[in-house]
C-alpha cells in the first residue's frame, strides 16, 4: 500500500470578502492520500476543512498550489473532479423536494449512467442502506439523519474511486452510522475506493480513519494514524474535575492546579504527566477539596487531547460524541 496515488500538495486559498479582512482559509496545506485509504480531515468549525474540500472537488480554485487526484491535475482541469469523485456536501437543498428514490436515480443519471443502470444501482444502494421502506418519501419530510443517509445514498450511485464526504453522519442514529461505515468498508474492500472524510467528531475519527490530518486555521498541524497521533501525547493523562459549587481555592494544591486547568463552568480539564495526575487525584480525593468535588475522571489521551496539545487555537472546537 505504498502506491502513492493522490497528492494534494500546497493547496493555498485566499478568500476575502469586501468589508471583512482577508481570510486565509487554507494556508500551505500539503497532504498525500493513498489509494484505498480512509483519510480524515479533523478540525474545529472554521478551520478550513470545507474550503480545502471545495478546492479538492474543483468547486473552488486555489490561488496557488496544485491538486492532483488519481493522476489528474484538478486545478488545470476542475471539470475532471466530477468524473473521479463523488461528493457529499453539507447541504441537501438540491435534492430536498425529491423522493429518496428519485434523488438517487437522478444523481446516478447525472453521473452518466443510463436509465437502466441508474435504476439498478439506485435499488441496490437503497437496499444496502436500509432506505427501501422510505424510498417513496420526499427528503424534506424525513428526519435530519434519514435525509443525510438519503444524500449519502445519492453519492454512492454511480461508483467513483474517491468519495469525499463532508460530515456524512451528522444527525444520524447509530444504526444509520453503521450502515454508512459498512457501505464505505464494502466499497473499499471490493473496489479499493479511497475515502476523504471531513469530521469534527473525535470518536468517529478514532474508529474509522486510517490516517487523519488535524487542520487548524487553514494549516495542517499534524498528520498521522490516530494511534500515532495519540502516541505523541502518550506521556499525558487527562484529568477532569467537576466541582459541586466552586473550586476550593483555599486549598493551596487546588489553587496551584488552577493555573494549569482549562476552566469551563464548574469543570476543570487538566493535562498532566502520570505522576502529577496521581498527586492531583490524591489532593482532590482527600480533605477539604473532596468535599467540594462533584465528579472526576482520569482518561488516556484522545484525538481531542492531541489537537489541543498540538496548539489548536479553538479550545472547545471538537465534538466528542
Amino acid at each position: 500500500m505504498r502506491g502513492l496515488n493522490k497528492t494534494y500538495p500546497a493547496v493555498k486559498g485566499r478568500r476575502g470578502a469586501p468589508g471583512t479582512p482577508e481570510v486565509r482559509a487554507t494556508d500551505g496545506v500539503e497532504l498525500d492520500v493513498r489509494r484505498g485509504e480512509v483519510f480524515g480531515l479533523l478540525g474545529p468549525n472554521g478551520a478550513g476543512k470545507s474550503t480545502l474540500v471545495r478546492q479538492l472537488t474543483g468547486l473552488l480554485r486555489p490561488d496557488t498550489g496544485s491538486v492532483e487526484i488519481l493522476g489528474h491535475d484538478i486545478v488545470r482541469h476542475p471539470e475532471r473532479a466530477a468524473r473521479l469523485l463523488a461528493y457529499l456536501g453539507q447541504e441537501s437543498s438540491a435534492l430536498d423536494e425529491l423522493t429518496v428514490s428519485l434523488a438517487a436515480e437522478t444523481t446516478g443519471r447525472l453521473r452518466g449512467l443510463d436509465v437502466r443502470r441508474a435504476r439498478a444501482e439506485r435499488d441496490a444502494v437503497l437496499a444496502e442502506l436500509g432506505l427501501t421502506p422510505i424510498a417513496g418519501r420526499a427528503l424534506k419530510k424525513l428526519s435530519g439523519g434519514q435525509r443525510r443517509l438519503a444524500c449519502f445514498a445519492a453519492a454512492l450511485v454511480g461508483e467513483r474511486p474517491l468519495l469525499v464526504l463532508d460530515e456524512p453522519t451528522t444527525g444520524m442514529d447509530p444504526v444509520a452510522r453503521r450502515a454508512v461505515w459498512a457501505a464505505v468498508d464494502r466499497r473499499r474492500a471490493e473496489h479499493g475506493t479511497t475515502v476523504l472524510l471531513v469530521t469534527h467528531n473525535v470518536i468517529e475519527a478514532e474508529t474509522v480513519l486510517d490516517r487523519v490530518a488535524v487542520i487548524d486555521q487553514g494549516r495542517v498541524i499534524a498528520c498521522d494514524t490516530p494511534a500515532g497521533l495519540k502516541e505523541r501525547v502518550a506521556g499525558e493523562v487527562r484529568v477532569e474535575l467537576v466541582w459541586r459549587d466552586r473550586a476550593p481555592l483555599q486549598v493551596p494544591e487546588v489553587a496551584a492546579l488552577r493555573e494549569r486547568a482549562v476552566e469551563s463552568g464548574r469543570r476543570w480539564t487538566l493535562r498532566l504527566a502520570p505522576e502529577e495526575a496521581r498527586a492531583a487525584v490524591a489532593t482532590v480525593t482527600g480533605g477539604a477539596a473532596f468535599a467540594a468535588l462533584d465528579d472526576f475522571t482520569l482518561a488516556t489521551p484522545s484525538l481531542e487531547d492531541v489537537y489541543l496539545a498540538l496548539g489548536g487555537a479553538a479550545r472547545q472546537g471538537l465534538v466528542k460524541a
Binding site: 505504498r2 502506491g3 502513492l4 497528492t7 500538495p9 500546497a10 493555498k12 500551505g28 496545506v29 500539503e30 497532504l31 498525500d32 471545495r54 472537488t57 474543483g58 468547486l59 473552488l60 480554485r61 496557488t64 496544485s66 492532483e68 487526484i69 488519481l70 493522476g71 489528474h72 491535475d73 471539470e79 475532471r80 466530477a82 468524473r83 469523485l85 463523488a86 461528493y87 456536501g89 453539507q90 447541504e91 441537501s92 437543498s93 438540491a94 435534492l95 423536494e97 425529491l98 428519485l102 436515480e105 437522478t106 444523481t107 443519471r109 447525472l110 453521473r111 452518466g112 449512467l113 443510463d114 420526499a138 467513483r160 490516517r211 495542517v220 498541524i221 499534524a222 498528520c223 498521522d224
Partner: protein, 291 residues
C-alpha cells in the same frame, strides 16, 4: 510520470512562498520519495451527455411540483383568472378584450417561469445546493434548460385554464387556442431564461426574489392592459419586455383573418430572447457553481 512532475512543481512554489508548515515527518511515507507504482492516471468516469441529463433534471424538477409547487400554481392561475374577471368590468369585447385575455394567460407563464424560477435558483445558489450539480459531470446547459423546461411546463395547465376562461368570459373564439402550444414553450423559454439568469446572477437570494417579482409585476402591468391607451414611454417599456411578444402573438390569433406573419415574428422574438437568456443563464450557472 505526471504525479512526480506535479510534486516537483509544487515544491518549487513552496520554496518561493516559504509557507510550508508540514514538517516532513508528519507525512509518513513522505511525498516525493515514494516510488510511484506505474499506475497511470485513473480512468475518468463517464460524463453525462446533454440530452439524457437534461431529461433527468427535467423529470426531477417536474416531480418537485408535486411536493412544493401545486399551491403556487393555483395562486398563479387564480391570480390570472381574477385579473380577467376584474378587467371584464372595465373592458368591452373586441380588440381590448383580446389583449386582456392574452395578457392574463401569459401572466401565468411570467409568474411561474420568471418569478418562481428566479427564486428557486437564487435560493439554490445561496444555500450551496448548486454544489450538488457542480460536483456531477453534467453540462451546465442541462441543469439550466432542464429546470427552465420544467418550470415552463408547470405553466401549461394554468395558462390553458386562464385562456379558456377568458375567451368564454369575453366571448372570444376558442378556435385558435392551439397557438398556445407555440406561445407557452417560446414565451416560457424567454421568461424562464430571464428568471434563471436573474436567480443565478443576483448576488443575494433576496435580490433574486426581488428581480423575479419585479419582472412579473412588469408583465402584469404592461401585458394585460391594451397598449394603445398607454403613453409613449410605457409602450416603449412594454416593447422591451419579452412577455409582450407572447401576449401579442396570442392576441393576434383571435381575429377572423390573423396576420400569421406577425404572429411568427412575435414568436421569433420570444425564441431569440429565450436562446440568449438561457445561454446567459448557463454561463451564470457555471460561474455561480465554481466560485
Amino acid at each position: 510520470m505526471g504525479l512526480y512532475a506535479g510534486l516537483r512543481d509544487c515544491r518549487r512554489e513552496e520554496e518561493q512562498l516559504d509557507v510550508s508548515v508540514v514538517p516532513a515527518e508528519v507525512l509518513p511515507g513522505g511525498a516525493p520519495a515514494v516510488p510511484e507504482t506505474a499506475r497511470g492516471p485513473a480512468e475518468l468516469g463517464p460524463a453525462a451527455r446533454l440530452w439524457p441529463s437534461l431529461a433527468a433534471v427535467y423529470r426531477a424538477q417536474l416531480s418537485r411540483a408535486r411536493v412544493a409547487r401545486i399551491p403556487l400554481l393555483f395562486v398563479a392561475t387564480f391570480q390570472s383568472v381574477g385579473i380577467a374577471v376584474m378587467m371584464r368590468g372595465v373592458v368591452d369585447s373586441g380588440g381590448e378584450a383580446q389583449s386582456v385575455v392574452a395578457g392574463s394567460s401569459v401572466l401565468v407563464v411570467a409568474y411561474v417561469a420568471l418569478n418562481l424560477l428566479s427564486q428557486y435558483f437564487g435560493q439554490l445558489r445561496a444555500s450551496g445546493g448548486l454544489d450538488h450539480y457542480a460536483t456531477l459531470p453534467v453540462p451546465p446547459a442541462a441543469v439550466v434548460l432542464g429546470a427552465a423546461a420544467a418550470y415552463a411546463s408547470f405553466t401549461v395547465p394554468g395558462t390553458l385554464v386562464t385562456a379558456v376562461f377568458g375567451c368564454v368570459l369575453f366571448g372570444l373564439p376558442l378556435g385558435n387556442l392551439w397557438i398556445l402550444l407555440a406561445v407557452i414553450p417560446l414565451a416560457g423559454a424567454a421568461l424562464s431564461g430571464l428568471g434563471a439568469a436573474c436567480g443565478l446572477l443576483a448576488p443575494r437570494p433576496e435580490l433574486a426574489t426581488l428581480l423575479g417579482q419585479l419582472g412579473m409585476s412588469a408583465a402584469l402591468l404592461l401585458g394585460v392592459l391594451p397598449a394603445d391607451r398607454m403613453p409613449e414611454i410605457v409602450r416603449l417599456a412594454r416593447d422591451l419586455l419579452p412577455s409582450t411578444y407572447g401576449v401579442e402573438a396570442y392576441a393576434r390569433t383571435f381575429g377572423a383573418h390573423p396576420d400569421w406573419a406577425a404572429v411568427l415574428v412575435d414568436l421569433g422574438v420570444c425564441a431569440g430572447v429565450g436562446v440568449v437568456s438561457l445561454a446567459v443563464a448557463a454561463r451564470a450557472y457555471r460561474r455561480a457553481a465554481v466560485r
